[in-house]
């Protein structure tokens, strides 16, 4: 038990320590930004410090938290729906070679349609409601998750399945003990990407369909020509994505992929 806890604490420590590199990257980014600010002036590109102040000001207002919560709730709804639908349909289709072949051109079509077109369609179908946001986020993120899961199931390790069969596992037991574990290797990276795109598309849909949330706040600060506040809203969105990804998605992935960590030889620089 103590070893179990120590393992997790060690992982958290390593993650926090690797944060220094992230801070260095951000500092570099801020330096380039500052250069841009000095070259183009306050109106086009406010300085990083001004933006930070604007962000802090926004964070002090209760309204900001309400808007961020509204947007997050919609995006997370879309994300969860994507995660469940992608996994279930992906597994179902991955098992059948014929369904795989049928699904590929459909995916190409769905992925080929730009999200903005889906927003327009969804607005016609659902009006300015949460349904519009949900539809567009799912349509934008689902194909990626679905394709990854289906591909992983199709590429599953038949040798391991034969082994399971030799020890008396039925089809359902093989799915539960072999296939699903194999699929998670592709599922979580796809989820991490899907998470980012659901938030981005959710904000876009809110902005275009005028649905109360960060998207609308962004549109307002644009019409007020308040560039610092616009960027501050972007900072808040990125922060929310960061919290969800490193607070939920990555810890679950790390827990399921402990064996990959073990495969890493000692002394490899992270």
């Amino acid at each position: 038990m103590t070893r179990f806890l120590l393992d997790r604490v060690g992982r958290l420590g390593r993650f926090l320590w690797s944060g220094w590199v992230g801070v260095a990257g951000l500092a570099l980014f801020a330096a380039i930004w500052q250069q841009g600010h000095e070259a183009y002036g306050d109106f086009i590109l406010p300085s990083p410090l001004t933006t930070l102040q604007a962000t802090a000001e926004l964070l002090r207002a209760d309204e900001t938290w309400r808007l961020a919560q509204a947007t997050s709730a919609r995006a997370i709804q879309g994300f969860l729906l994507t995660a469940v639908l992608g996994a279930v349909l992906g597994i179902a289709v991955g098992y059948s070679a014929a369904a795989m072949r049928l699904a590929r051109p459909l995916l190409t079509i769905v992925m080929g349609v730009p999200p903005i077109a889906w927003i327009v369609l969804a607005m016609i179908w659902f009006g300015s409601s949460a349904g519009t946001v949900l539809t567009t986020t799912v349509v934008a993120a689902f194909p990626l998750v679905f394709a990854n899961v289906a591909e992983a199931v199709a590429m599953r390790d038949r040798a391991l399945e034969d082994m399971a069969k030799a020890f008396g596992a039925g089809p359902f037991q093989r799915l539960r003990t072999i296939v699903i574990r194999h699929v998670t290797g592709q599922y979580f990276p796809a989820l991490a990407v899907a998470l980012g795109s659901t938030f981005k598309v959710a904000v876009m849909a809110e902005l275009l369909a005028n649905i109360d949330g960060i998207g609308v706040a962004l549109a307002m600060s644009r019409s007020n020509l308040d560039v610092a506040q616009s960027i501050a809203w972007v900072v808040i969105i990125v922060a929310v994505i960061f919290v969800v990804e490193y607070g939920v998605v990555q810890p679950v992935r790390a827990e399921l992929e402990r064996w990959r960590e073990a495969a890493r030889p000692w002394g490899v620089r992270r």
């Binding site: 034969d162 082994m163 030799a166």
Partner: protein, 249 residues
Amino acid sequence: MSVLSLHNISHAYFGRTVLDRVTLDVREGEIVALVGPSGCGKSTLIHIAARLIEAQRGRVASAYARHGMIFQEPRLMPWATAEDNIAYPLRLAGLGRHQRRARARHAADVVSLDRSDLGKYPVELSGGMRQRTAIARALVVEPDFVFFDEPFTALDVALKRQMQDLVIAAARQARFAGLFVTHDLAEAVRVSDRILVIDERVRGIAGERFIALPAGARDDAAVFATVQAYLKEDPLFAHIYDRDERLAS
């Protein structure tokens, strides 16, 4: 009394007949080796016997209670520790965690797998330890029948010997019967009671030999002499080292 019997098994891949009306019986406590060149259908035969593939014609009847199987590659689940891999058949059988752990540890002791290695993942284990894990996984169910599908082909000579000794000792202690596929005649002479030669030209069993040596008297010299005698004097073994991959494919 036979614990496994195959009756009139026929099988073809894409119209090419590999096995044609093969009949074989394995008696209680008996280890039967299937030898033959690669591509002769011995792997297909054991897969049919283990019910991994369905024979196109013929009947498989088994009287054993529990069976295990060892493959050429260890086939361990990379995401599970050695202990969880060994306990996998027990998990399928629905045993509780404590019972699984106790029996997996016992099986690991039988194949002399170190306790400290049980918490490791397969990637952290050496090739020999992985195969030991796979053997332990087959033995953990306390089988009365074990399928061996060229289990030690990929191992080096010294390791191969150790593993053979392990199987011989386990078979003597647990009294299980088995079907042992190999293309190494010396291995067949060391571990089995009876050798069946599979031949592509007859699409099945060309003949059988009982090994005259008692199980306790199979030292290197005796095994070598038996193998030489088979290869030089017995027409049955004339083709077992023919390796024409074009025919085999």
